[in-house]
């Protein structure tokens, strides 16, 4: 019944009378909305470039790798916020990817029906929490716990390991790159889980059932059937989450420590690009304002390259598996 209805609907719409007014209006406005996105993106890019120009002409390209942020002497460099942005996002992904994979697999493969609804709703609610709430919670609840228990424990145990130990040194401030990464991982988790759950559910039941029928364990089904079938969607979920982690502002500003010094330890305070913008934009002028816009431009480039790399990876995957 349904397929028949659909084909007949398609038939009456297609070909015969394409020039109806409604169609033109609809098509035209869809075109305009589509182009609008490109125009907006271009406008943002242009205004960032214009705003950042004084900073780049003053400091040159070395702005990108200079570690200095001195509003008194009007000398700025992007290395510290750039480093903080990357480190916090990496921490968020290192923690968030396995956890979200676990939740998504649990929800689609293992979870009893009566628990599916509550867990899915809880994950979606996490995505609806405003980022300022994560920031406040991080500062008032998580930071004291980190300072009293978690960070001293890490310094006392992992801190003694060779090489890896360098990352867990110094006094336990409670706030810093590590805490910011933790908060970020909680913030990007719901995005990854919801997308992955949805793509896992697109795996045809026949495939899954036949694998189980052949005697495969849950792990084997996930590894050899579910993940290969849905890899494009899974990578897409990771990249969306990474993009969000790179640009997250308010929550990070509260817990990152806002210091422009690069330390070896990930427990030390640092800064991110968006946190610097949130902190200093209102009071900045002249070269400082321009340097902040230059930071914004770098974040734009960074996010753009993340999306680009994701596209490349997907294309290669598609080629390899046909």
């Amino acid at each position: 019944m349904t397929p028949v209805a659909m084909t007949s609907a398609n038939h009456s719409r297609g070909g015969a009378h394409p020039g109806r007014l409604g169609n033109i209006l609809f098509g035209g406005s869809a075109w305009i909305f589509g182009i609008l996105v490109l125009i907006l993106l271009l406008a943002v890019m242009i205004s960032l470039v214009i705003g950042a120009a004084p900073a780049f002409s003053e400091f040159g390209i070395s702005f990108v790798w200079t570690e200095v942020w001195n509003p008194v002497k009007d000398h700025y460099g992007a290395l510290s916020p750039l480093y903080g942005t990357l480190i916090t996002s990496i921490i968020a992904m290192v923690i968030g990817v396995p956890v979200s994979l676990g939740i998504a697999i649990f929800l689609t493969e293992l979870c009893p029906n009566y628990l599916k609804r509550p867990i899915s709703t809880a994950v979606e609610l996490l995505a609806a929490v405003p980022s300022i709430i994560y920031g406040m919670w991080g500062l008032f609840v998580l930071a004291p716990l980190m300072q009293k228990y978690i960070e001293p424990f890490l310094i006392g145990t992992v801190g003694h390991v060779i090489v890896l130990g360098d990352l867990f040194q110094g006094p336990p401030y409670g706030i810093g790159l590590f805490t910011a990464g933790l908060i970020l991982s909680a913030m990007v988790l719901p995005y990854m889980v919801s997308i992955m759950r949805d793509v896992f559910e697109t795996v045809p039941p026949q495939l899954r059932e036949s694998a189980y029928g052949l005697g495969a364990t849950t792990w084997e089904v996930v590894r050899s059937v579910v993940l290969p079938y849905s890899r494009v969607g899974v990578i897409g979920a990771f990249m969306l989450a990474l993009g969000r982690a790179l640009g997250e502002t308010m929550a990070v500003t509260f817990v990152v420590g806002n210091s422009y010094h690069i330390a070896k330890s990930i427990l030390a305070p640092g800064s991110t690009i968006s946190a610097s913008l949130a902190n200093e934009f209102a009071e900045a002028d002249g070269l400082q304002l321009s340097s902040l816009l230059a930071l914004g431009f770098l974040l734009f480039v960074l996010t753009f390259s993340v999306i680009g790399v994701a596209r490349l990876m997907l294309m290669r995957l598609q080629k390899r598996y046909g």
Binding site: G174, N279, A282
Partner: protein
């Protein structure tokens, strides 16, 4: 059916007209200002009282000093407010007139279990060394020497500073520059500085929270935040070499000693003022208006608001722990309005 539609439309039209009429009359007497966050509580209080008294609405947005300066330069507000006084050439370039509005105090706060308000004594050199990161422990000889009889722990010092650009930071750093040569050479003063050490909290509330959570920390906030959050403040040594507590009377003493008359454009930072009772980290905050006004009535309304507030709002300011300006200074400021703020016809708009 169509009759009801017509009736609804007619009602809607009348409603719109009525709203237009009301907003139209309210619009005529509304003043807008934007800028510093430091004096925001007292400006809001004054605005509320002034509205109740005269019907003139004053809409003040505390968007930060930098943004306030930008907005008055772009002429999108009737007055700007800034914690960092502008230099003569900046004022001249944008045709601005500057005057102080209220004075406040900034206090160091510490978190040392067992140690109470005012028990720790600090002088400018030591405070500067702590914020430079050269003094790193609470039982440093310099601290022990200044605090005989006080059991200072071996706890390492965690410095907490503002992460956002702020007039509070400017005034605090200005004070450290005035009393610590090292600080002046290495860091200097601005609304944001390159902090040699420590962690940054966003806003007064961010600094308060971090100090409350971190044992062995030291930060700086406006006095109102220290009292509201029951944070432990320190005594400071003033320019006369005496240790004073941060109290309204100490801020007042510093404000009274200030030599406003000989400061061009009232550009005077109150840091380290002389006087036995003066609190050393005291700061004035400033208002900016255009020198040549396009609308004389609007200009008069703005100055009228500040005239009323400076002459009648002292009690409201003191309740919020700000120091109102001395009467002589208010007279001086109003004379400046007459000499510097002109209407479109070139005549003074005040009085």
């Amino acid at each position: 059916m169509s009759r009801t539609v017509v009736r609804t439309l007619r009602q809607a039209a009348f409603g719109t007209l009525a709203i237009l009429a009301v907003t139209g009359s309210a619009y005529a007497v509304e003043i807008t200002g934007a800028g510093a966050t430091f004096p925001n509580p007292v400006y809001q209080k004054w605005a509320e009282a002034y509205k109740a008294k005269t019907g003139t609405a004053v809409n003040y947005q505390s968007v930060g000093s930098g943004a306030g300066i930008k907005q008055i330069e772009a002429n999108t507000v009737d007055f700007g407010a800034t914690d960092k006084a502008l230099e003569a050439d900046e004022l001249k370039k944008n045709d601005l007139v500057q005057f102080p509005a209220v004075i406040g105090g900034i206090v160091p706060i510490v978190n040392l279990p067992g140690i109470k308000d005012g028990e720790v004594k600090l002088d400018g050199a030591t405070l500067g060394a702590i914020f430079l990161g050269t003094i790193t422990s609470w039982n440093d000889p310099a601290l022990v020497k200044a605090n005989p009889g006080l059991a200072l722990p071996r706890t390492p010092i965690t410095v907490v500073h503002r992460s956002d650009g702020s007039g509070t930071t400017y005034n605090f750093a200005y004070y450290l520059s005035a009393v610590n040569a090292d600080w002046q050479a290495k860091v200097g003063a601005n609304t944001a500085v390159e902090w040699p050490t420590g962690v940054g909290g966003k806003g007064n509330e961010g600094v308060s929270a971090l100090v409350q959570q971190t044992v062995g920390s030291i930060g700086y906030v406006e006095i109102a935040y220290a009292l509201q959050n029951k944070l432990t403040y320190t005594k400071m040594m003033n320019a006369d070499g005496l240790y004073v507590e941060p109290k309204l009377s100490a801020f007042k003493a510093a404000a009274e000693k200030a030599d406003w008359a000989s400061a061009p454009n009232y550009r005077l930072v109150l840091a380290n003022q002389p006087g036995k009772e003066s609190w050393p980290i005291t700061a004035a905050t400033f208002i900016l208006v255009h020198g040549s006004q396009s609308d004389a009535n609007k200009a008069k309304a703005v100055l009228g608001f500040f005239d009323w507030s400076l002459n009648n709002g002292q009690k409201m300011a003191e309740d919020l722990l700000y120091v109102p300006l001395p009467d002589a200074l208010v007279k001086h400021i109003e004379a400046t309005w007459t000499s510097s703020v002109k209407g479109p016809d070139g005549k003074p708009v005040w009085p």
